[in-house]
Structures are given as structure tokens and as C-alpha cells.
């Protein structure tokens, strides 16, 4: 490992542009039991881009609301606070995740498509396994690869060394650690910590490749782990490193997942992912 490399990476995490101020304020409001719908409306009034995005997502077939939603107030009433939070993050993170990612060689828009697909797949898995839908699953899945945006340039620079390490039969994120001193999961977790995101989201991002590494295994991490592997396998957001990651047998055991459930979710994911990723793309550009 090159000296000082880890310091450079951590410094890049600190200077990484944050999510829009509106989004962070809204997320705080959603967490605050004292907040009201009108406070959220007031904030969104000054951000028509986010508002348009939220309404488009709310009206998508994926969320399956029968009524057409025309205002943020209506969206809050029909979706509830927590689900609105999920849509706020989705609407705001698009501009960040939409960029091309060097190192992993993901063209513009592909990390965004992958992130949305993993969110959809994780929720579909939860539904298939009769796990109570927790809105945090979608958000954790959406953010799981944030670290690639910071680490990409370092991976690009040292790709040969990482390849050589991975050639010894270790998963790609372990090869990143060996050469760079950290990996994209850890970098993503630190990024979210610096944005004051809830601990459970941070942990889901940190352990998404190694769900057995966390002190106490959690369903949300297992779901993101499996959904991520599945989306890479079906070719959504698979980069230069290919499929050199290792699905954890313990995670699938903990979830009680069966092969046919995994394949069923695969068959459902692509359509929803395309629909949702297109919706946000058009409104943010």
C-alpha cells in the first residue's frame, strides 16, 4: 500500500460535494416528530427541481398509488413521512450518482441505474420473503455504492495492482483494501457519516459486500448484499471488475432465500428499475 494514499482518500471524502441543502433539511424534518407537512412544503417551494422529481416518482406505477398526485401535501398524506423521505433522497441523489465513474469504467448514468435497480430488487426480495417493508431498505440500497465516486480515480490509477491482488482469488473490494488501504464500501460509509446520515444506513453501506463482518447481522444489510449481487449478475451497473465479488452463503441462509425467489425477483427488477431511473433522469436534466 502506498504511503499517504489513505489520507488522500479521506481528504477527498471530506471535500466531496454534499447532497443539496434542501434534501438534508427535509430529511431532518422527516425525523423530527414536531415537524408538519407545511414546513416541508415551505422548504420545497424554493426547489422546483426536487418537487417535480418527487411528484414524478410518486406518480410512477412502482409506488402503485391509485390517485394521481398533484402536490407535495397530497404526496405526504398518501405516502406518509417515511416514504416521502425515501423519495427526497432519490430525487436529490440522482445528480450525484448520474456521473460516469472512472476506475470501474461505468459510463454516465450507469451507477444511477444500478443504484435504483438494487433498491427495487431489495424491496422485491423483502416482499417475496414476507419481511415487513422498511423504507430504509430502499434508501440503503440506493446509496450502497456512493464510495465508488470517491474511490474511482484511485482504482483507475492502481488498477493493475488491484487486478493482480484480485488475481490471487480474493474479492475485488478486498483487493482494493490491500492496495489502497480501504475499499469503496468503507469510503461510502464515511461519506454518509460526514453527511450525518443515520447509523443503520451507514452500516448497510459499509458491509454491503461483507454482511457477515458486522457485529450483529441485520436483514437490511443481507437484502442490500443479495440485491447488489443479483443486479450485477443481470448486467445492471457491472463495471470493469466484472462479477469478482462473493455472495455470502450465510446471508442467504439468514434470509431464508430460495433459488426460485431469487430468480423471480430477477425477472421483475429490470422493468421497474428502467421505469424509475428514466423518471428521475428526465426531470433532473
Amino acid at each position: 500500500m502506498k504511503q499517504g494514499r489513505l489520507d488522500d482518500i479521506i481528504s477527498d471524502v471530506r471535500s466531496f460535494p454534499s447532497m443539496s441543502g434542501t434534501a438534508l433539511k427535509i430529511l431532518k424534518l422527516i425525523d423530527d416528530p414536531e415537524s408538519t407537512a407545511s414546513k416541508i412544503e415551505e422548504l420545497l417551494r424554493y426547489d422546483p427541481g426536487i418537487t417535480a422529481n418527487i411528484l414524478k416518482l410518486t406518480n410512477s406505477a412502482y409506488f402503485g398509488l391509485s390517485a394521481r398526485i398533484g402536490s407535495i401535501r397530497q404526496a405526504i398524506m398518501l405516502l406518509g413521512w417515511k416514504r416521502l423521505g425515501k423519495l427526497v433522497v432519490t430525487s436529490c441523489i440522482n445528480a450525484i450518482l448520474d456521473k460516469p465513474v472512472p476506475g470501474y469504467d461505468l459510463p454516465s448514468g450507469e451507477l444511477w441505474r444500478h443504484s435504483i435497480a438494487v433498491s427495487v430488487a431489495a424491496e422485491l426480495l423483502a416482499k417475496e420473503l414476507d419481511i415487513t417493508a422498511d423504507d430504509e431498505i430502499f434508501t440503503a440500497a440506493l446509496l450502497h455504492d456512493m464510495g465508488k465516486l470517491v474511490l474511482g480515480n484511485y482504482v483507475k490509477e492502481d488498477f493493475q495492482a488491484i487486478e493482480t491482488a484480485a488475481g490471487e482469488g480474493i474479492p475485488f473490494q478486498a483487493a482494493e483494501r490491500r492496495v489502497l488501504g480501504t475499499d469503496h464500501a468503507e469510503v461510502g460509509a464515511r461519506l454518509l457519516e460526514s453527511w450525518s446520515f443515520p447509523k443503520s444506513l451507514v452500516e448497510s453501506v459499509r458491509w454491503h459486500h461483507e454482511p457477515d463482518g458486522v457485529e450483529k447481522p441485520r436483514t437490511i444489510i443481507d437484502l442490500v448484499h443479495v440485491a447488489n449481487m443479483l443486479c450485477l449478475m443481470i448486467g445492471i451497473g457491472v463495471g470493469r471488475e466484472g462479477l469478482r465479488y462473493e455472495p455470502s452463503p450465510a446471508a442467504t441462509r439468514r434470509l431464508g432465500l430460495k433459488t426460485k425467489q431469487l430468480e423471480l425477483v430477477a425477472s421483475q427488477t429490470l422493468q421497474w428499475a428502467n421505469e424509475l431511473s428514466d423518471l428521475s433522469e428526465t426531470s433532473s436534466r
Binding site: G169, L232, G242, S248, T252, L264
Partner: protein
């Protein structure tokens, strides 16, 4: 159409099947995600190409409909990759390949070339005029 190149990106564990008739100069490329359509019959009805069992049959039918002859067909396969480790559940690529081989065997068709398995994700460029098939994975490129 002659001169056209059909491209499919990031095969992962999906199957890419290229079928070409050099005399009729027609060809087709299938990108199938899952082995068996029974997992989601509704999807298979809407998009038979999502599954190897329904997609391969439909591709061959289309080729014959356009004037392709079985005796002349050149058939190549790519993809069917897998992640690391030995988790059976995630061997969708191997199951895709097995279903393909069974179907071809039943119909007396042999694969002329293949680039399958491993942990790489492949992109296929398939030239309809002459059947030339170029596989890209990472920085590597080869003709199949």
C-alpha cells in the same frame, strides 16, 4: 440488415446467443436473463426473450421464418458468468448454459464457438452481414 451490427452490453450471468446464416445473410442475437420461463409465466408471455427456454426457441423460429436453413446456421454462445464462491443459488449463468445445451442437443444443433463462464462480464458485437462476433470484457477484446 446487411452492414448492421447488433450489440448487447454487460452479459454478466445472462446468455448471449448468436445465430447466423451466411448464405441468407441473416442473423439474430438473444440476450436471455434466466433459464426457465416457468419462474414467471406472465413475463415470459410478454417477453419470451427474457428466458433461455422460450427465447432460444423463438430466436430459431424467427431465423427460419426469415429464410434461414438449419444446416447452414452458425451458432455461438457467450456470457453465463458467475460471481466468486460456491453459492449454488447464484449460479444462474451455469443454469442458463445447461438449459441452452439441452435445447440444442435435443434439436441436433452444435455450438460452433463459445466464450462462457468465469467472473467476467462480456459485451458482444455481432455483425449481421458476415456473422463476425467480437467479445469485449474489461480491456480485452477477441473474435469468437
Amino acid at each position: 440488415m446487411n452492414g448492421d451490427v447488433v450489440v448487447t452490453h454487460a452479459l454478466g450471468s445472462c446468455l448471449g446467443l448468436m445465430v447466423h446464416d451466411p448464405v441468407a445473410r441473416i442473423g439474430g442475437l438473444l440476450h436471455a436473463m434466466l433459464p426457465l420461463s416457468k419462474i414467471n409465466p406472465q413475463k415470459a408471455e410478454a417477453n419470451p426473450y427474457m428466458f433461455v427456454d422460450t427465447g432460444v426457441v423463438k430466436l430459431f423460429k424467427e431465423i427460419y421464418r426469415l429464410g434461414g436453413k438449419k444446416s447452414r446456421l452458425v451458432v455461438k454462445a457467450a456470457g453465463c458468468g458467475r460471481p466468486m464462491g460456491n453459492n449454488e443459488m447464484f449460479k444462474i449463468g451455469e443454469r442458463n448454459y445447461t438449459v441452452l445445451k439441452k435445447l440444442l442437443w435435443k434439436n441436433n444443433i452444435l455450438l460452433d464457438a463459445e466464450d462462457v463462464g468465469g467472473t467476467v462480464s462480456r459485451t458482444v458485437h455481432f455483425h449481421i452481414s458476415d456473422g463476425k462476433t467480437v467479445i469485449k470484457s474489461g480491456q480485452q477484446e477477441c473474435e469468437l
